[in-house]
C-alpha cells in the first residue's frame, strides 16, 4: 500500500468532517478562481466596449463626470443639453477627423413591462453615425431612408425584447407618433444591442429639443495627441470632455473599491478555510494518537508519519481545489450575475474569464495553502512516541 492510499482511507473514515472541510476549501477556491477570472475579464470587456465606440472622445454638456461616463457607455439618464452649434466649434480644430452629434431622449412607457418603464431613443445623424460605427451589421433592413424620417433601427436585444421586425410600427409613448422599423442590427455584444436608433432631426422634433444635443462623438486624427485635443476642447463653453482613457480610469476607480472589498472577503475566506484544514487534521491527529503510535511501532520513522499526515492535508486541498474550480466553471454565469448586481457599472460581454491556466494557477495556490496548513499537524503527529500511546493502556 502506498502512503497516499493510507492517507485517503484515513480521510474517508470521517466522511462528514472531511466533506465539510473539502467544501470549505472548494468555496474558497471558487471565490479565488472567480476573482482572478473577473480581474482579467472585466478590463478586457471594458476595453472591448470602448474599442467598439467608434470615437475616442465624447463632448457632453457640463455635469457630473460619472454621469458623463455612464452616458458614454450606457446611454444614461438625467440628461443635460448643449447647443448644436458646438459641433461646428469642435470641427474647427484641425486634429478632429470627424464628429457625430447625438441626442438621447427618454420617456416613461406605461405599457413597458408589468409596471411600465423608461423607453430611450438615441437620435443619431444618418450621415455620420453609420460611418463612425462601421462595425454595426444588419440582421434585417438598413439605415434610415431620410434624415427626417419617422423610422427606427433597433438593436439586437431591443428587437428580441419587443419582438420587432422590419416593417413593424413602434409608438413613442405620450407623443402618439409612430416609427417604422427599417432595420434590426446583428448582435454586437455592446450597449448598441439594447438601443433604439432614430434620426437625430426626428428626435429633436418629436421631443421638442430642436438645436439641442446631449453628446458629440469625436474621432481624433491618428497622428494627433488626444490629451492635447482634450485640453483644447475643454476651452469650449459649458461642455465637458470625456476621453475613453478617462472613462476607463473612472470606471476602474469606481470598481476598484468593490474589487478591493471582494478581494478582502476572499482573503478572509481562504484564511478561514486554511484554519479549517489545520483544525480538521489536528483533530484527527489527536483522535488517532494511539493509531499513530502503533504505526511508529510497526516501523514508520517520524518523517513517514509527517508525510502521511501531510499527504492527508494535501489530498483534502487538491480535492477541494478541484471541486472549487469545477464550481467556478459550472457556475460562472451565476458568479457573473452576482458581480453585475454588486458593481455600479459593468461592461457588456463576458465579465468572468476562466481559463485552464487560471484553474492550474488556483490549484497551485490551494496546494501551497495545503502544504503550509499541513505542516503543524504533521509535525505534531511525527512527534508522537509509540510509548505514549501504549502507556495510555495502563499497566
Amino acid at each position: 500500500m502506498k502512503i497516499y492510499q493510507v492517507a485517503y482511507k484515513n480521510l474517508s473514515s470521517k466522511k462528514v468532517r472531511s466533506g465539510l472541510t473539502l467544501l470549505g476549501i472548494a468555496l474558497s477556491a471558487w471565490v479565488l478562481v472567480s476573482l482572478f477570472g473577473f480581474n482579467r475579464g472585466y478590463e478586457k470587456a471594458l476595453n472591448r466596449d470602448i474599442d467598439n465606440m467608434g470615437f475616442q472622445v465624447l463632448v457632453t454638456a457640463k455635469g457630473c463626470p460619472y454621469e458623463a461616463a455612464t452616458l458614454m457607455l450606457k446611454g444614461g439618464t438625467g440628461l443635460r443639453y448643449m447647443n448644436e452649434s458646438i459641433v461646428a466649434d469642435v470641427l474647427k480644430h484641425p486634429e478632429v477627423e470627424k464628429t457625430t452629434p447625438m441626442l438621447m431622449a427618454a420617456i416613461f412607457d406605461p405599457n413597458k413591462g408589468e409596471s411600465g418603464g423608461i423607453s430611450a431613443f438615441l437620435g443619431v445623424d444618418p450621415a455620420t453615425y453609420p460611418q463612425m460605427k462601421s462595425y454595426l451589421k444588419f440582421q434585417q433592413g438598413t439605415w434610415f431612408s431620410d434624415p427626417q424620417a419617422f423610422e427606427a433601427v433597433v438593436g439586437y436585444e431591443a428587437a428580441e425584447l419587443e419582438q420587432r421586425e422590419v416593417g413593424d410600427k413602434m409608438l413613442i409613448p405620450e407623443k402618439n407618433i409612430e416609427l417604422t422599423v427599417v432595420g434590426v442590427l446583428s448582435r454586437t455584444g455592446t450597449q448598441d444591442d439594447g438601443t433604439i436608433f432614430v434620426p437625430l432631426r426626428t428626435v429633436q422634433k418629436v421631443f421638442e429639443q430642436e438645436g439641442k444635443l446631449t453628446a458629440i462623438g469625436v474621432k481624433i486624427k491618428k497622428e494627433a495627441n488626444i490629451n492635447l485635443v482634450e485640453q483644447k476642447l475643454y476651452d469650449l463653453p459649458d461642455v465637458q470632455v470625456v476621453s475613453l482613457a478617462q472613462v476607463k480610469e473612472t470606471i476602474m476607480s469606481l470598481i476598484s473599491t468593490a474589487k478591493m472589498m471582494v478581494f478582502s472577503i476572499a482573503l478572509i475566506a481562504i484564511l478561514i478555510a486554511m484554519l479549517g484544514v489545520v483544525n480538521t487534521i489536528l483533530m484527527s491527529v489527536f483522535e488517532r494518537f494511539q493509531e499513530i503510535g502503533i504505526i511508529k511501532s510497526i516501523g514508520a520513522m517520524p518523517w513517514d508519519v509527517f508525510k502521511l499526515i501531510w499527504v492527508e492535508t494535501i489530498i483534502l486541498c487538491l480535492l477541494g481545489g478541484g471541486l472549487g474550480i469545477g464550481f467556478s466553471f459550472a457556475l460562472s454565469k451565476i458568479t457573473e450575475a452576482l458581480i453585475r448586481s454588486l458593481l455600479p457599472y459593468t461592461p457588456t460581454g463576458s465579465l468572468v474569464v476562466i481559463s485552464g491556466g487560471l484553474g492550474l494557477l488556483t490549484i497551485a495556490m490551494v496546494l501551497g495553502i495545503g502544504i503550509v496548513s499541513g505542516l503543524y499537524p504533521a509535525w505534531r503527529a511525527a512527534r508522537v512516541r509509540p510509548l505514549e500511546s501504549i502507556r495510555s493502556e495502563g499497566e
Binding site: 484515513n10 510497526i298 499497566e395
Partner: protein
C-alpha cells in the same frame, strides 16, 4: 543483528519517572538474560513494573540507568541514550509488537492492515507474505473484511500477523488477551506457543493471566520494580 545465542542481555536496568520534583521509581536495578528462541512471561500485580521493563527491553523506551545488549549489539548504556529515530530503526528490524488493544486501522481491510508495515519498511529477508501469515493464523477467509467485522480473538490474530510480517526476531506481547474471554485467550496463547516452538521466535509476554503465563518456558515475577527472588527460572 546476530541473535545466535542471547537475544537480550539487560544489566542494572533502572527507571525513574519524574513528576515535578518528585521521583517515582518504576524499576530498580534489574538484570536478566533472555536466550534466543526463549518464551518468557512477565507477571506481577498492577504497578509492579512489568510493562515498563518490557517497554525498555523492546526499545520502546529508554532506561534511566543500566545497559541493554540486543542480539550481541549494545543498544544503550548508562552514558549513551538513543534518539527516537534510532530506536525506531532497531524496533522495526528486531521486534514485532502486540498489545491489549489491537490498534487495527478501521478503514483498512485485514490484509491491508497486515501489509501496512511494508508501506514504511520492508526488512531484508522477510520471506513470508501477508496472505501466507494470515493463512497460518486461520484468517484466510477474513482477508478482505474490515476489522469491525471481526471478533476480538480474530482481531488480535490479525495484530499478531501484522507483527510477524517483517520477520521479527523477538515478539513482544503486552497483555494480548486483556480484552478477550478465556476461550479466545487460550487460542492466542496457543498461537504464541506455536510461533515460539515452530518458528523459533523469541517471545516476551506480559500478562495477568497465570494460565497463559504457564505456557512460557520461564516466568519472571516482578513486584515493586524488582524481580522476585526465586521467581525466575
Amino acid at each position: 543483528m546476530n541473535c545466535q545465542d542471547w537475544a537480550l542481555e539487560a544489566t542494572g536496568i533502572t527507571k525513574i519517572y519524574k513528576r515535578g520534583s518528585e521521583e517515582i521509581p518504576a524499576l530498580d536495578n534489574i538484570s536478566l538474560k533472555i536466550g534466543r528462541g526463549e518464551f518468557v512471561s512477565f507477571v506481577g500485580p498492577s504497578g509492579s513494573g512489568k510493562t515498563t521493563l518490557v517497554n525498555i527491553l523492546g526499545c520502546l523506551d529508554n532506561a534511566s540507568a543500566g545497559s541493554l545488549v540486543l542480539c550481541g549489539k549494545t543498544i544503550f548504556t548508562e552514558s549513551q541514550k538513543l534518539s527516537e529515530a534510532a530506536l525506531t530503526r532497531i524496533r522495526r528490524s528486531v521486534f514485532g509488537y502486540i498489545f491489549q488493544k489491537f490498534y487495527l486501522l478501521p478503514t483498512l481491510t485485514v490484509l491491508e492492515n497486515v501489509a501496512l508495515p511494508f508501506t514504511f519498511f520492508k526488512k531484508e529477508g522477510a520471506s513470508k507474505n501477508p496472505q501466507e501469515i494470515l493463512g497460518s493464523l486461520g484468517l484466510e477467509k477474513r482477508m478482505n473484511h474490515l476489522p469491525g467485522q471481526l471478533s476480538g480473538g480474530e482481531m488480535q490474530r490479525v495484530a499478531i500477523a501484522r507483527a510477524l510480517v517483517n520477520g521479527p526476531d523477538i515478539l513482544l506481547a503486552d497483555e494480548p488477551t486483556g480484552n478477550l474471554d478465556s476461550k479466545r485467550s487460550q487460542e492466542i496463547g496457543e498461537v504464541l506457543k506455536r510461533l515460539n516452538k515452530q518458528e523459533g521466535l523469541t517471545v516476551l509476554l506480559v500478562t495477568h493471566n497465570l494460565a497463559l503465563a504457564k505456557l512460557a518456558d520461564r516466568t519472571v515475577e516482578l513486584r515493586d520494580g524488582r524481580i522476585q527472588d526465586g521467581k525466575t527460572a
